[in-house]
Symmetry: C2
């Protein structure tokens, strides 16, 4: 994989005129009826096959509507010990079939020293003896500070990939620690300043660093504030749709050219077939078309909110 991650991200946004990231959070119980086991009990092989088919259908359906997909590692790890290999396979196939779609693995790891290195190598699929699929970027947790992040960053740099650091998450309780004020500014601004420093020597031709930030759609004012604090940091903005964020809420994540961020929606897209307004237009067997329509509607709504 060649080229600065941030440059690739901006190019993907422009090529597809899309700021949408589709979150792949496979929950087998929410798959359409045709996927459900006849006796109601999932066996390991059945759950893996169903998840593979469901995820691959969604990826294909949204591939020309989205700049990126974000795989939520938890839902793969929870399936079976083979869940990680299933995610590897999806990454590998995506790289070959949809090379213009960026893949993010959302795993929120955070640890120190050689453990941080091991997490980076594992998440980027640099195993012993082989390397299957290539995620373009992953997410990390900053709670352990610089000496936890640096070994991780060394692998990101060596492999020419990207990372998004949790700065301000989208959940209500994010306030409990992240909004505490220390030395005259909230913790999330302290984290933002660390992110600036960590990414300062990885800025690409488009002015953005390969060290990005996770900033929730559910805090529109803080999105604007953090865009100012981190002018060279690409944002991954979760919390759109099911969590309550709308297109107007995410405007502050973008620069004046409408670049610098992607907005994630997971359940609102991949399970659109089962929810309003799509359930009345698509029956469950057309879940992939419902997802494509939901991604397209989100793409248009964000672009309109940005006046694009």
């Amino acid at each position: 994989m060649a080229g600065n991650f941030a440059d690739r991200l901006m190019a993907a946004i422009e090529e597809k005129n899309s700021r949408v990231c589709v979150g792949i959070d496979p929950v087998p119980e929410r798959f359409p009826p045709e996927f459900q086991p006849s006796d109601g009990d999932w066996r390991e092989d059945a759950v893996l096959t169903a998840t593979r088919t469901f995820c691959w259908s969604i990826i294909g359906a949204v591939s020309d509507k989205a700049a990126a997909v974000k795989f939520n590692s938890a839902f793969f790890e929870r399936l079976s010990p083979e869940g990680t290999r299933l995610l590897d396979d999806l990454l590998f196939t995506m790289e070959n079939v949809h090379p213009d779609l960026l893949a993010i693995v959302d795993a929120k790891r955070g640890d120190i020293g050689s453990t941080a290195t091991a997490y980076a190598l594992g998440l980027f699929r640099e195993y012993y003896g082989y390397s299957p699929g290539v995620p373009h970027a992953v997410t990390v947790n900053p709670y352990l500070g610089t000496d936890g992040f640096t070994p991780f960053l060394e692998e990101v740099r060596r492999l020419d990939r990207g990372v998004f650091v949790l700065v301000k998450t989208s959940n209500p309780s994010a306030r409990e620690l992240q909004d505490l004020e220390a030395e005259g500014k909230p913790i999330y601004v302290h984290v933002a300043e660390l992110v600036n420093r960590w990414g300062e020597d990885m800025i690409g031709d488009r002015g953005y660093s390969s060290v990005g930030a996770v900033v929730g759609a559910t805090y529109p004012e803080q999105l604007r504030e953090l865009r100012q604090v981190m002018p060279h940091t690409p944002f991954l903005v979760p919390g759109f749709g099911a969590q309550g964020g709308g297109a107007e809420d995410v405007v502050g994540a973008f620069d004046e050219d409408g670049l610098g961020a992607i907005v994630n929606s997971s359940r609102g897209i991949i399970y659109a077939y089962a929810a309003s307004p799509y359930a009345s237009r698509f029956d469950a067997s057309r879940f992939d078309e419902a997802a494509a329509q939901a991604a397209e509607d989100m793409r248009v709504a964000i672009n309109e909110a940005l006046g694009l």
Copy 2:
């Protein structure tokens, strides 16, 4: 698995008269020469077999010296997609062969809502269709706050297991965010107060909660401070040995009965065969005996520092 996790932990400490937790951080390059591939290149099957044998030898050697072992998930995830299954197998075999040795999976996960639930189910090996080994406790990251922790805690409670929340980590950069002062106290005290609240209804017969805390050995004064702030919280204390903490440094983690904490050492025990003072006494093929001796020396040193 029956019984409050904290009660089981205190019983394990008393039965073995040991406050030692052995950290299993498998790094194949550091295994003894007999494990190394003849051509210097690890293939997937070879690295898995070597890791399985190395880890199982260490577990057997330390099983009567240690109250617990702590598996560092990163090093298993990094081996191959089969690394998770290897860890499952170790957990399953341990449960049958060494039922009195507690197993902690150190994975430092942290996320919100249904993702937090999925991480809990994955870490506790509650897969679709089957459940292999049983870790007694896992570690989590608190950065996302209460609504990230609550779904995780619900699974901990339902499955009758334990969890250790990162409060003050052992690394030098832990200071950057964890020591910032907000509302008159450092962030790590804010986290400690959350931990108290999260664990208040899971206190067992021995006065400790199944919601524990990770507090580094490298900050002895803060260990004492946090023992006061969290009187009902079992501590998992990393940073002993290779990271610089000694037996005197960890005294503050314990209550007046010498209970309430376990102290982890990873590299200092499992790779003792290659370092002073054990390298001169044990050749590399006796790596397991070196580990047993290092664990025993650590057990005695901590007990002596506690006057036990």
